[in-house]
Amino acid sequence: MIWAIFRRDLALLLGGGRRGGALLPILFFLAVAMLYPFAVGPDAQLLARTGGGVVWVAALLAAILPLDRLIEPDLELGFFDQWALRGLAEEATCAIRILAHWLSFAVPLMLAAPLAAGLLGLSGGQLLTLELGLLAGTPGLAALGVAVAAVTAGLRGGAALAGLLILPLSVPLLIFGAGSLSTGGEGGLALTAAASLVLVAAAPFAAGAAIRAARE
């Protein structure tokens, strides 16, 4: 049962259907990385120094794009009710969705990161730190995305509100993740992973409670 739900979640989020695909956030992410040199000029030193932070900001902004199709469509179509009726807790279905969202959003993002790093002239060492930081931080970002999408599902202007909600909540990930680039240290990565872990642990419960509350 869980396997079937996971496969459906992944297929829905990866692409196809009317809900748009996983490609759009990645193109958006690359577009931001591409625009930045146009805005600040082609100074290679400046780009290399600030580029890592830009990649992190671009990743956070890209994370907003899939929010409105994470929970709301299934809530409206009655999927969550049907799963609840079959004895599956909302926490479980949300945890499945977090995993599917991470696979469909974060993995392509990490694959696109070398391209962004090339556009910004980051060094190989910086790219490695960046990728490790994204690996540590994106599970938290995915969890946060599902929780925020569940809280704002069904609200008028929910999509815009979700974007506003997720940005401040993801600030710890941004600070530690982007910070690990300037210090080059493992401390930043460890703190990113720690913040990420807290979010992953808490998000299924927050999202599950939000879905139950939306029924009342």
């Binding site: 196809g16 259907g17 409206e76 009655g78 009710d81 049907q82 079959r86 029924r215 009342e216």
Partner: protein, 195 residues
């Protein structure tokens, strides 16, 4: 399934209060009443999706719910959208085809769900519910949007389900022609006061 002294509150209005019902296997109960009386809310309370304002529900056996939302992926062909639930419910091979024949969807399995008409969607949801194979049926307005032949078909399905020892609660504002169907008018439990 039985419910004791249920009350339901929506916003600051009590929709109904002191509503008790008991349904045994092999029985069907028609929850009747005009729009807005609280039929759907009662259905969702019985399904365990909403908490009652007061009272309790006791039930045994797996439940299947049919309401106005089909819970089928609109972009998928009907056959694949139903196959997802067949996998979730571990429906036996062949049962899904049988069920689709029974509700007259066999020719539509290649059509994406979003191109189906209201009545066809209703029948698709009905197929999903039948394939679930649950002993307890909760049908919320199952006759909405159906033509006369399909209405008769649903009535026959309910009768068969009860004859097989199943239990069915059916909310509808329309008259339902099933032999031996008990009727509970929710208007009898209306509470005309604000909370």
């Amino acid at each position: 399934m039985r419910a004791d002294e249920l009350a339901c509150r929506r916003g600051d209005r009590i929709l109904f209060a002191r509503l008790s019902l008991a349904v045994e296997s092999g029985e069907a109960l028609h929850l009747a009443g005009p729009n807005g009386i609280g039929k759907s809310s009662l259905m969702r309370i019985l399904a365990g999706l909403m908490r009652p304002f007061a009272g309790s529900v006791a039930k045994s056996g797996a439940m299947a719910l049919l309401d106005e939302r089909p819970a089928l992926d609109t972009h998928l062909p009907l056959g694949r959208a139903l196959a997802f639930w067949a996998k979730v419910d571990r429906t036996q091979d062949g049962l899904l085809d049988e069920v689709c024949d029974r509700v007259g969807l066999a020719d539509l399995l290649d059509v994406p769900v979003r191109f189906l008409s209201t009545g066809q969607r209703k029948r698709a949801a009905l197929a999903r519910m039948l394939a679930q194979g649950a002993p307890v049926w909760l049908l919320d307005e199952p006759l909405n949007g159906l033509d006369a032949a399909s209405v008769a078909n649903v009535e026959a399905l309910v009768a068969d389900h009860c004859a097989d020892g199943g239990l069915c609660l059916l909310a509808s504002h329309q008259p339902v022609g099933v032999a031996g169907l008990r009727r509970l008018d929710i208007a009898d439990f209306r509470a005309d006061f604000a909370a």
